[in-house]
Homo-oligomer: 308 residues x 2
């Protein structure tokens, strides 16, 4: 399969934000003859049919992937490993199973247990999303100009290397840039750029929730002072994020250690009125934001352009 | 002065994001015959004239506020208290001096030292802004549908109560909702909704900056995983924020204590694999975000609508 041919059949396991965005992206690119969907939630499947982003739905993973050329597992990390192995065991040897989870070492580990079927498993992570969930939340262009990290198994057989190339082609078809790295490094990098930010945003919600002196109504009214920025990622799917933290414990605790060290430095500077440390530390944000805007990963409109 | 009349002369001390937004808002509402500007940075004054948001500029606060009916002090909190007192001493007894700082107890304290002139000082805080700075960053509608908190001095004389009403009318003219509260409560509420979020965002920049194992290029590329949301407020004016933390130390340290308690709970849950605590805690974000969207303080478009 090259990007100028059509997939005869794509199976999508999990029709949430990511699964339904993939379905929409394939539709937009007219890249699949047939999209077959499975979801543990039957209402999601009904909705996928109504939205015409699935041609057919199945009540089991086995039935959904049977005869598919590519199976995409887009379920929370806690169950994705089992789903990947189940799907791989039903695929033909030249099939391809990819997942989309935010933690990759667990998938690589599970794939090792799939024996012969492991040859069609290519763990992937498209770094894109929104705070919304479910089949209606999907966006065809969600992956466009975003990075997708591919973390292949440690295999050098030609068939596997070809499968990795097919996985890369799949993401490029959806508009992504692709980067290959090992799973452990991915899990550490994402702990910094995604997992810790979510943990901190969730923590901020808890801190605001439990106050005796400031009411929720005040938090809501005065949220434009900065708090509202944190609520976007804190509104993300709780089950998905629970699984991320349970499956990337070591890396998250490591970067959390760095975060709390840095916080202790600023806390001390506030307590002792150390103006120089505060100003110097605060000046770093602008350069980093500029780099992210220049890399096309962020808008340069003030307030993300949301007030315009 | 009522909202259906025009201010004959408004003095604006500080032509940064907030000062220049006020000037633009007054222009848009056609609410001032003359806007006189002062800024410690002469380049800001030149630019204010070029942008036609000041009719006249002056090289001192005294000269700028002389003959003005209302003086707006929009300088960083560290110098604003002095500027407010200086301005008040030059105003006629029926004049009005307001500031816009994110910490109010320090201004109330300083106003007490202004003796007779204190009668025209009404401390204010419009809860609005962007991550950008300087005269070019101003937006006419910045204060529209945002809250402005007014923290009057403890005075009950009729002349002062009239000044408070004039201050409220000024913000309503710019489109704000107005709430009156005491300065200490304001400083605590804003520590939650604004100061702590900024501190945490600055901390996150520092934590990402000092890593040996993950490169800045990786942080930039994979920032769509959540990190980029923090960079907006971390790109705010470092001097302004230094002054906020130096002037609201107790309240910030108090809410920071709540934050670190909450973080410790989540850290322990991750370490021990406590799925229930994680999921339960993560579920709080959606309700809070929904309340903020419903209150008109946030967009409901996914990703703040910035990817659309």
């Amino acid at each position: 399969m090259t990007t100028d041919a059509k997939y005869a059949r794509v199976a999508i396991i999990g029709m949430g934000l990511i699964g339904s965005s993939i379905a929409r992206g394939l539709r937009e690119a007219d890249a699949a003859e047939e999209i077959v969907a499975y979801d543990a939630d039957a209402a999601h499947l009904d909705r996928a049919v109504e939205l015409r982003i699935a041609d057919r739905v199945e009540a089991s993973i086995d039935a959904a992937v049977s005869g598919a050329h590519i199976a995409v597992v887009a379920t929370p990390v806690g169950v994705a490993a089992d789903h990947v192995v189940d799907a791989a065991r039903r695929m033909s040897p030249d099939g391809l199973v990819i997942d989309v989870g935010s933690v990759k070492a667990a998938i690589v580990e599970a794939a090792r247990g799939a024996d012969a079927a492991a040859g069609c498993i290519v763990p992937c992570h498209p770094i894109a999303g929104t705070e919304q969930s479910g089949p209606d939340a999907g966006i065809a262009g969600l992956f466009r100009n975003r990075w997708c990290v591919v973390t292949p198994l440690e295999r050098t057989d030609a068939a596997y290397l070809a499968a990795v190339e097919r996985a890369k082609a799949f993401w490029r078809l959806l508009g992504s840039e692709v980067e290959v790295m090992d799973a452990a490094h991915h899990d550490l990098a994402l702990a910094v750029t995604s997992h810790l930010p979510h943990l901190i945003a969730f923590t901020m919600m808890g801190a605001a929730d439990d106050l005796e002196t400031v009411t929720e109504s005040e938090v809501v009214k005065y949220s434009a002072g900065g708090f509202r920025d944190f609520t976007r990622i804190a509104a993300s799917n709780p089950v998905m994020w629970r699984d991320v933290f349970l499956n990337n414990r070591e890396a998250v605790l490591e970067v959390l250690g760095r975060f709390t060290e840095e916080l202790a430095v600023l806390q001390r500077a506030i307590r002792w009125g150390d103006a120089e440390t505060l100003e110097k530390s605060f000046a770093r944000g602008r350069a980093l934001r500029r780099a992210i805007v220049e890399a096309g990963q962020e808008t340069d409109a003030p307030n993300f352009g949301r007030d315009g």
